[in-house]
Symmetry: C2
């Protein structure tokens, strides 16, 4: 795995960060390295994309954590907490516009300079799930 680009955001400090992209209206910029720019063909037709990236400022991991939204410990795989065995993050953001290899996005929730690994389209037919039971999040994620 190597970066295909970098995510620019106004966040330079973990303390300032929104907890999830769905709670952020912050504008960011995805810079795809020129060698991968041809891979963006037709992406401007999409309103939402998934960004896959590295939590580059997380070092080490814990198997049980107290996440931002709760005061009890949960297994890391039952949370979206960044200190994971593989520090892999995903954010679903709104794609506002594209200029060549640069994507303007809304809903950024990552640190400035975050290494980008992949972009995939958000496709309701694949990504929407109904009848979901979200466990401990049910009572906590609305806070």
């Amino acid at each position: 795995m190597r970066p295909i680009g970098v995510i620019h955001s106004p966040f330079t400090d973990k303390e300032q960060m929104p907890i999830q992209a769905s709670r952020s209206q912050t504008i960011g910029l995805v810079e795809v390295y020129p060698e991968f720019a041809d891979g963006l063909k037709d992406i401007e037709e999409l309103s939402h994309i998934h960004l896959f990236y590295v939590f580059h400022q997380s070092s080490g991991y814990a198997l049980q954590v107290k996440p931002f939204l709760d005061d009890r410990e949960h297994g890391i795989f039952a949370t979206r907490y960044p200190y994971r065995p593989n520090p892999l993050g995903i954010s679903t953001v709104r794609l506002l516009s594209r200029q060549d290899n640069a994507l303007d996005i809304e809903g950024v929730d990552v640190l400035d300079g975050t290494p980008l690994l992949d972009i995939k389209p958000y496709v309701p037919d694949f990504d929407l799930r109904t009848d979901v039971r979200a466990g401990w999040y049910e009572t906590r994620s609305k806070k």
Copy 2:
């Protein structure tokens, strides 16, 4: 990045595969390696999880591809096609039950033996997007 487990499925051949997890009702098994099993605490409260994995039988990549659902070329980042610069896949599956470090899942759409990198909870508050425009998928993904 190193595997935290392995996904077992009935699919041993790419030709047999469902195109997306949302179209699959196939049962599979996620085996999390014992050293990471403590990270599964409370996961059984969740009805749906995201699996992050490596497309381990994809070698090389193309920046423009004709995906399974269309007969026109699109940029790889506007598709979910497996031959990506970083061969990173995501599937959202239903979690049926857990026994220690083994998760029974419904909706598997990966090859048997796929290396697992991460598991995250599907949280509607974070993952649901409405008002989505899915570009070329709008006319093609219902096929």
